[in-house]
Subunit: 577 residues, 2 copies
């Protein structure tokens, strides 16, 4: 997975987590896979966090205990039997492990709780629906009995999106509810069940000629960092974005129709390329995060699979300001948009150059000599997608803008390095946390004219904590602005300290005028900040919709989208309930 260390190598936990343990639940991705920081990063962490090799000799809080707890199942035997009748007894689980497995996502507080063996907010029962019919019966019955319904897709939520705050039922969609319903090459669409996983969808589309007898291969165009362990349904209900969204669009641009099972019945949107028939049902349901109903089917636009036309690029700018101006000019130039568009601020650039092995090389020296100075310079990388002539013209025009702003072309190499890690970096999170090093992210959306205020303001708060790394990049870029993505790394293992820090960052994002999320969603974690952004009248719009779809508040209750947050509990922490 990485080059050998020359000096001391921490006792990284590379072994797959033993089955049945807390670790097997919280560890990211494939149990057998891992990624360790390289030696340069390790050195940096020691410096930044005032740690020594000694601190990396004994990993802690590994969650190697077997999952076991004493939490009553708040359902009657009759209710349990009804569920067994609906989905079949083999698709009903009430054991501790199955319940905990779907209770949380990958929010930092989830990992922290599981490492501590703190078990709370778990479902009473886990169901594995086989088809829409099962889901309809479950929702109908739960509505009648007022049993909360949660939905578990890939489990990669970082906003406490799937957390079963009020107990009840969790529907695990991965097991059975993951099939292709229709592939339509004429319309260039595919209809899938909500539990369809990212890689499976992409495999199917890439192999459309052999699987469907299609004329060509396709791609879904949606590749979030969680791609390998997220599902289509999760992308849609949270309004996710893939790393290639600058070209392909966010999921709300890719979805053409959807079907939901709600307590008041089926909501199925029309499959039209556009319409002027009242408010957009699709845009009402996307972003509902399970609070209006269960997403069952999604029809997605698909794209031609043409990796041969991808053109990689990377540049180094002298300053963040030059880089931002170039980014804006590229997006406003009307020559098309790059697919991956990632521009790192000075601190992230510093870390990335370490990660990619550029630091200390001859290239580093050349950059420094030419005035691209450490902790001032900014790395911009990405690649294009689309038809050949289109990508060729785009790369040429983008190059012109970068040159205008004094950038140095660095070839496609850094992009290739980034691609290697794009789905693998999350593996480092657990392995570092074994030594008390917390890695977390928050992200927002902001217009160009307010970007520096947000960047500076949020960074200022992040860095007010000593010995803390705060890396920022701009990605998912638009003519009117971009996503700003903050990654913070710190030695921190108290849940209370973590939450206080996180609240401070969320406060800063709001204070400086960015949206509370560009693509992670709101969930239960960011919900207390939602009203501060959108205002009381608009939050009441969501509540009016909620009352219509889910009058008994059984769908993802307990804070989702601030729909049932008490006024006096704006920042409540379920942990302390």
């Amino acid at each position: 997975m990485s080059k050998k260390y020359k000096g001391f190598e921490p006792k990284w936990v590379k072994e797959p987590p033993p089955p049945g343990t807390y670790r097997s639940i919280f560890k990211w991705g494939d149990p057998n896979e891992y990624k360790i920081p390289n030696e340069r990063l390790y050195k940096m962490m020691k410096e930044k966090f005032n740690m020594t090799d000694d601190d990396f000799k004994q990993p802690k809080k590994l969650g190697l205990e077997k999952v076991s707890f004493n939490k009553p199942i708040n359902l009657t035997q009759e209710q349990i039997n009804t569920f067994k009748n609906i989905v079949g007894p083999e698709n009903v689980k009430t054991d501790d492990y199955s319940r905990l497995q779907v209770a949380y996502g990958k929010t930092m507080i989830d990992l922290m709780r599981l490492r501590e063996g703190i078990v709370e907010n778990i479902p009473d029962i886990v169901l594995y629906p086989r088809d829409k019919n099962d889901i309809q019966k479950i929702v109908e019955y739960c509505n009648q009995e007022k049993i909360p319904v949660y939905v578990y897709g890939g489990g990669s939520s970082v906003t406490r999106g799937v957390e079963c705050v009020k107990g009840g039922v969790s529907l695990d969609m991965r097991v059975h509810f993951n099939k292709v319903i229709e592939f339509n090459e004429i319309n260039q669409t595919i209809t899938v069940e909500a539990g369809m996983s990212g890689p499976e969808l992409e495999r199917i589309l890439n192999n459309a000629p052999s699987i469907f007898g299609a004329k060509r291969a396709y791609t879904c165009g949606h590749f979030p960092q969680s791609f390998e362990y997220s599902v289509v349904g999760g992308w849609v209900v949270t309004r996710g974005a893939g790393q290639n969204s600058t070209y392909f669009g966010k999921i709300e641009d890719i979805v053409i129709s959807q079907e939901y099972v709600t307590p008041i019945g089926i909501i199925k949107s029309d499959e039209f390329p556009a319409a002027a028939t009242g408010p957009s049902i699709d845009q009402i349901m996307m972003g509902s995060e399970g609070a209006f109903g269960v997403l069952t089917h999604v029809t997605l636009k698909i794209f031609r699979y043409m990796p041969e036309n991808q053109r990689r690029f990377s540049y180094i700018f002298k300053t963040w300001e030059d880089a931002r101006n170039a980014a804006r000019e590229i997006m406003q130039g009307q020559f098309g948009y790059p697919s991956v568009f990632r521009l790192s601020d000075p601190e992230e650039t510093d870390v990335m150059l370490k990660l990619y092995g550029v630091e200390g090389t001859i290239l580093d020296k050349i950059m420094t000599l030419k005035g691209y100075k450490k902790m001032e310079r900014c790395l911009f990388l990405g690649f294009t997608d689309g038809e050949k002539g289109f990508t060729k013209n785009l790369k040429r025009k983008l190059h012109k803008v970068c040159k205008k702003y004094g950038a140095l072309y660095l070839t496609g190499y850094p992009t290739k390095e980034w691609e290697k890690g794009r789905f693998k970096d999350p593996y480092m999170r657990d392995i570092m946390q074994d030594f008390g090093i917390m890695t977390d992210t928050l992200e927002c959306s902001v217009t160009w004219d307010n970007m520096e205020k947000v960047h500076e303001g949020v960074r200022k708060f992040c860095k007010s904590r000593p010995n803390t790394i705060c890396m920022t990049h701009m990605s998912h870029v638009y003519p009117q602005g971009a996503n700003l993505y903050f990654i913070f790394i710190a030695k921190m293992d108290s849940i209370e300290e973590y939450l206080e820090y996180q609240y401070g960052i969320l406060d800063s994002i709001q204070k400086y005028g960015a949206s509370m999320s560009h693509h992670h969603g709101i969930g239960k974690m960011i919900a207390p900040w939602l009203e501060g952004q959108i205002g009381r009248n608009q939050l009441e719009v969501f509540k009016a919709l909620k009352r219509y779809f889910d009058p008994n508040n059984i769908m993802n209750p307990g804070g989702t989208l601030a729909l049932d947050l008490d006024d006096d509990k704006k920042r409540f922490n379920y942990l302390k309930d």
Copy 2:
């Protein structure tokens, strides 16, 4: 305005309508402007409609009578005084002409009624709000007094959108509420009041360097056929599309934020390039057609004004099938989209070749000889927008696809001809109707795989009426489908016959599976078909929103979006109420 006739020329009414007459209200556009059909078209009409020169000697139902009617004002003097206090007495009108002037749009039934002197569904009072403050006070007071509120923008609705079915107040936004609030070159946005007219907005943007000291000139990118006589607010609340929408997007793609005054208060959406913060408020408000509140401000994305990069093209295809396949392949090719994209079916092609003077020329003979036969061949025209290299590549790739499907390149000439008429053709509607010839349009949205069924089905109904022209084109095109736009021309002057025919077309659009509108909106005219398209559960979503925003049903009441249609009145005709 057009070449001299060689033979008999009808007594076209070219004079501006006398002030104060019904004609001055229903006539399209500039009173002094007109457009007459050329001699080829005139000849065609005579043939098609079994008419002779004699039928064109005496124009009828010209609406030259002075507007005068006896309709009581259902407001108390106190209420009228309150309105005078709010907007100033000079901004309150209760005379017959002012009331009728804002009661209707340009729906065919509006024209027919006005020609007959039928006056119904008019407001009690007309107000000219000066600013948002006025509008807030008006809505608050009307909500308290339960007085209906209608909004009049450009008055170009073709769906009975502005019709004051329940009397009350009509707010005429054109007079004062039409200013620029902010021009933001960094974000490439402009914020305007809802009554801002299309040409004024475009003039301002084209002259941004001199007006705002901007670095360059901009364009709004939104040019509906009604452009010269429509306003930004109307574009937005109806989900309109400009003729260049294939490149620039529909208005819902161009809007970045909005502000509404509703009975429950202000609804202001955030100006973020994208977000994952619950359902989209923008997409809830767009398409609300005045039924949730009064749109006051809109922030629009703007685009670089680069007419020098526009590249015109036109092709003739042998068959509608070849043409459709080419259109689809162009839109799915991922080399960018043309700006204007207009593909005519055989009957429309026939009319257009007459209109553009191609019929009977040497070019016509060449086409016929090469197998592009009359009433089979299809004309495709348009132009590109964007950066120079982008448009160059796009035109080249588009050409390749057209050639693949056997098309003959016809140069940019037909496009230029189309451009001449793009905003002027509506002038022909009135001048033809003076001889009882009705021209009307209906349009829908449909996926590629269902397009031929809709085209055939709707045409079959249209043509089941003898002596009727039905022209269809595809415009506003997407990778997944397109808008189909039907223009029907017939000798018809009974309102009852007209409505029966229109209902039949709307039935056919629904029966064959298209959306009820792509960009005209629903209004009160298409409302009875809305539930048939979106279903009961989704119509109830709109009603839930309505209850929240407008609990007393004062905003555009009387059928808008089927929000207050009785179940037993699915097709009711206000005329017969």
